[in-house]
Symmetry: C2
Subunit: 274 residues, 2 copies
Amino acid sequence: MTNYEICFQGEHYAFSEIAAKKFLGESAVCHPRESFEQVFQSVRKKKPLLGIVPIENTLSGSIHQNYDLLLENSVGIVGEVNLRIELNLIAPSGVELSEIKTVYSHPAAIGQCRNFWKSHPNIEIMPTYDTAGSVKIIAEQGFTEAAAIASRQAAEDYKMNILLREIEDYPENYTRFLIISTENINFGIPNKTSIVFATKHIPGALFKSLSVFFLRDLNLLKIESRPLRGKPWQYIFYLDIEGSMKEQTCQNALRHLEEIAGFIKVLGSYPAAK
Amino acid sequence: MTNYEICFQGEHYAFSEIAAKKFLGESAVCHPRESFEQVFQSVRKKKPLLGIVPIENTLSGSIHQNYDLLLENSVGIVGEVNLRIELNLIAPSGVELSEIKTVYSHPAAIGQCRNFWKSHPNIEIMPTYDTAGSVKIIAEQGFTEAAAIASRQAAEDYKMNILLREIEDYPENYTRFLIISTENINFGIPNKTSIVFATKHIPGALFKSLSVFFLRDLNLLKIESRPLRGKPWQYIFYLDIEGSMKEQTCQNALRHLEEIAGFIKVLGSYPAAK
């Protein structure tokens, strides 16, 4: 088995790294990066060949910055992995829940624990760059009235206590991650395709665009819209389709879409996550 | 003319307040609120009768929290207004650009000035709850190596200097605001309708849903998807349609949509912004 190298945003034991190891195996070498931009930049320079970025969460929705970065950077999607996100309230050992005055975490994790905030209105919320990084901040600064929301693995790594397990609002809390690369790396039989396109400014443009898939029995799995920069109130659309660009039906649909869309980019065909 | 009262998120001279006065006139009485949740809460209690919230920006995209709050709260949309967002770099008088070490602003404004950050990599970015509130922080704390990104009006109000005008990435930087209420207040002839719906879990559901409008020559102005909480990888859709629920065609389309959708809510028919 290949020992893959992959970069991710955050500190070690961030959910992105856990997802990378779920996808590539425990032997994968994971390189932390400060920002999503830096993940894309590294992958563009092939140092390393692979990157992983979260693209959507089943509670808080899409990570739009990564949709924008997929369009701006010449990298493709070569795989995807879904990870159940268990959010734990983590504090230095000996610190009790009643002593916590501030909780540090990534804004996405903060947004997935609304019920916890409602039942603890006196706790101050402090947004940070990363879930695992929040545990690191508390450890390094020696805070004693603070907690972080992060993975079980991050708590173990910093030898901290889990005060409360699974404080996310719903147990159905999954994040979908994309594996990106500039190389055409094969992780199995592709059966899912992601594209981005802008329609011409004509009536019914979106409907006509979706019809090219419907007319060929190609299922749409997701649609996401983003503003077209510089053209107020116009949009670009990201679609996930059940099918591969290796199949004639998909190729026909895309050729049909070219008649309607002003711009199309195929982001990749890859094996869908189980 | 009625002297309307309206609440908004942020401090006085936030863009939401400027938009409210553009919509209601300068005589409108504007009440600041700390969060979008509190704006919705106030409107639900009819104290005051009207609220204003940003829903999308032409550079940074939709404000998803407000889409979620529209669904969770029993309030309707009674109007909309578009405001050109001019972002200014604002510092205490006497402070020069070369002295600035930290810039405070709302994350949305920060995201609209990416070119400025690229050309000033040594400036530390400090996200806050509000653009005008950032000017207030600098004024109240007496910071001298800091600047804020906010409206011209906020600079004037706190007697600060504008160091750089219009630092947003594109001049085509508009925010669309919704006027919300529990009352059916009439601000003109309605010609735009916003709805939210969830499709049944059947193949081609989204395409079939959009067809009910296309088949009746009703233009779609915007589509936005959000995760359906508790049902991983299922989505709810927000649509803006050209037309009013007072018109038979719109009513027919919605009746047709009921055959396909598992859930529909009309958020309101209102006059479209010019």
